[in-house]
Amino acid sequence: MKEETLSSALTFVSAGFMAVFSLAPFLYMFATSFNASPDYLTGGFNFTLANYKDVLGVKSLHFLDYLRNSLIVSFVSSVVTVLLASLAAYAITRLEMKGKAAILLFVLAVSMFPQVSLIGYLFRVMTELDLINTYTALVLPYIAWILPLALWILVSYFTQIPKELDRAAVIDGCSKWQVLFKVLLPVSLPGIFSTALLSFIFAFNEFIFALMLTTDYQSRTIPVGIALFQGLHGETPWGQIMAASTLTTLPILLFTLLFQRHIVQGLTRGAVKG
């Protein structure tokens, strides 16, 4: 009994600490976004909605343009990434092929290049291809950048699905493509959704590529957009930045809640004895 109390107390304390630690910046952001004083810590709290009105209403801030750009770029990147990653993961986990481990390790190695080391080269390539300040300039590197992670997640997910399921499908008359689309993908839907969501978040938050490869509101994404917010008189407009940041977290929050049902584990329960 005593041990249980201790362990639940420990759980509570550590979980509480983690929650406070990671949520505190958000709380600060949230509070500042509703504050009329420029600096919340020294200026006191005066409630206002002006920051939100500015962010959504002032055309020159281009907040909604940035948001639109981000959503489009992140959506396309994550969909293409997951599509490619599931095909690759299927091949690696299910088809007879030499050098599977080598491929996985190679992909992992590629993903270890720091972004900064790529950016100069990328800038030149995109300039040559005349793609600077287009969605394509962001989508292509994002796919390449996120693909290794997505592949690793999906490979480990597919590995958990018993091979008897494939065999049953083959016996039931499925071709290799049908095995993938009628059995493996539907069964791994939770894994695919979480991978897609993760890819989306990665692309949505990406900063350096977006900073270098876009030049204005026509394709600039929101992290860069917010960072480059200018106050009317040259000061840093904290209130508007915080309001914009708060609004930016909404789509991610929304997606997570929306797909939560699909992300929950255990859909494979019942496939085999369990």
Binding site: R167, A168, A169, I171, D172, G173, K273
Partner: protein, 349 residues
């Protein structure tokens, strides 16, 4: 559908070594037969089943369904599983977890692009035969192990396959359910009249289900016979030991002048027994308590089986297991017993 397995071999090669899983398998499964492949784990029985199903290629020999060649060493002879019209039931059920029971059973028909009416009537009929009509809208996760295995069997028979394959389908069920399902499976196969190949490591399943049983070990058929044939005329020491409960008594001895000796008593050897060193095999049921002897010993242990008991009786260096209807013995009791006429087996040593 008659299945001809002619000289089938299977070798797995890795860089380091070659493993011969099937060495030279020759079996003909008769039309409508319930055929059992029996053997310990690693004997190659599941590999053989996969080769029949078309899930694995072979590295030697050929496989025919009736007159039709469905696989050989030649890759171009390989007929895909769906064109072989086989169905398979797996040990772990392998149901599609994202589909309802109805859709699981309907799956082979949908892949074959059957019409909606055909699917509905086919699924309902299979479900009725397997007594799972009440679960059609459930997901596999909501079913018990026994129900899941029924769904798997329903899915297998819905397409009216020419050949039904079972890969240890009862191993995951608890003992009571296993026995009940075994009986139903036998009945079902009789009613459907589909040629069936059934893989198991359980000799009781093999004996009760199989019209004929092939005992496999080390990639070779040790013996192919009816269940009773395996029990009464085991071809070698392995089969004799593998089949029958309680296990056969085996003693090292020698055949001289048509007789072998145990505990100082001579017994006539079977007519076809080789001369020289042998294993003498005597089933516990072929030994009977007999006040006239000639064998005698002391009871070491008694195992109660219900109607019968197994007495472990030591006689000099040897220990005999004796199946006895009398159970009123205590450890240390002296007993006399004899061997039923003509029931001894001799295997070269």
């Amino acid at each position: 559908m008659k299945i001809h397995i002619n000289g089938v071999q299977k070798t797995y090669s890795t860089l380091r070594k070659k493993t011969e899983v099937l060495k030279n398998i020759n079996i003909t499964v008769e039309d409508r037969e319930f055929f059992v492949l029996l053997g310990p784990s690693g004997c190659g029985k599941s590999t053989l089943l996969n080769i029949i199903a078309g899930l694995e290629p072979m590295t030697g020999g050929e496989l025919r369904f009736g007159d039709r060649l469905v696989a050989s060493v030649n890759k171009k002879d390989f007929v895909q599983p769906k064109e072989r019209n086989v169905a398979m039931v797996f040990q772990n059920y392998a149901l599609y977890p994202h589909l309802t029971v109805f859709e699981n059973i309907a799956f082979p028909l949908r892949i074959a692009r059957a019409g909606a009416e055909e699917i509905k009537s086919g699924v309902e009929k299979s479900a009725e035969i397997l007594k799972i009509s009440g679960h059609l809208q459930s997901k596999p996760a909501e079913l018990s192990g026994g129900e899941r295995q029924r769904v798997a069997i329903a899915r297998a028979i819905v397409r009216r396959p020419d050949v039904l394959l079972f890969d240890e389908p009862l191993s995951n069920l608890d003992a009571q359910l296993r026995t009940a399902t075994r009986v139903e499976l036998k009945k079902l196969q009789r009613e459907l009249g589909i040629t069936t190949v059934y893989v198991t490591h359980d000799q009781v399943e093999a004996m009760t289900l199989g019209d004929r049983v092939a005992v496999l070990k080390d990639g070779l058929v040790q013996q192919l016979d009816t269940a009773i044939g395996l029990y009464e005329r085991p071809a070698n020491r392995f089969v004799a030991q593998f089949i029958g409960f309680p296990q056969i008594n085996l003693f090292e001895t020698e055949v001289k002048n048509g007789a072998f000796s145990l505990c100082g008593t001579d017994f006539p050897a079977p007519a076809q027994a080789p001369s020289g060193p042998v294993w003498a095999g005597i089933r516990p049921s072929d030994l009977e308590l007999n006040d006239a002897g000639p064998l005698s010993g002391r009871v070491d242990t008694i195992e109660l089986l219900g109607r019968d008991a197994v007495l472990y009786v030591s006689c000099g260096q040897l220990e005999f297991a004796i199946l006895s209807e009398r159970k009123d013995f205590r450890e240390g009791d002296a007993v006399k017993f004899s061997l039923k006429q003509g029931k001894a087996h001799c295997f070269p040593r």
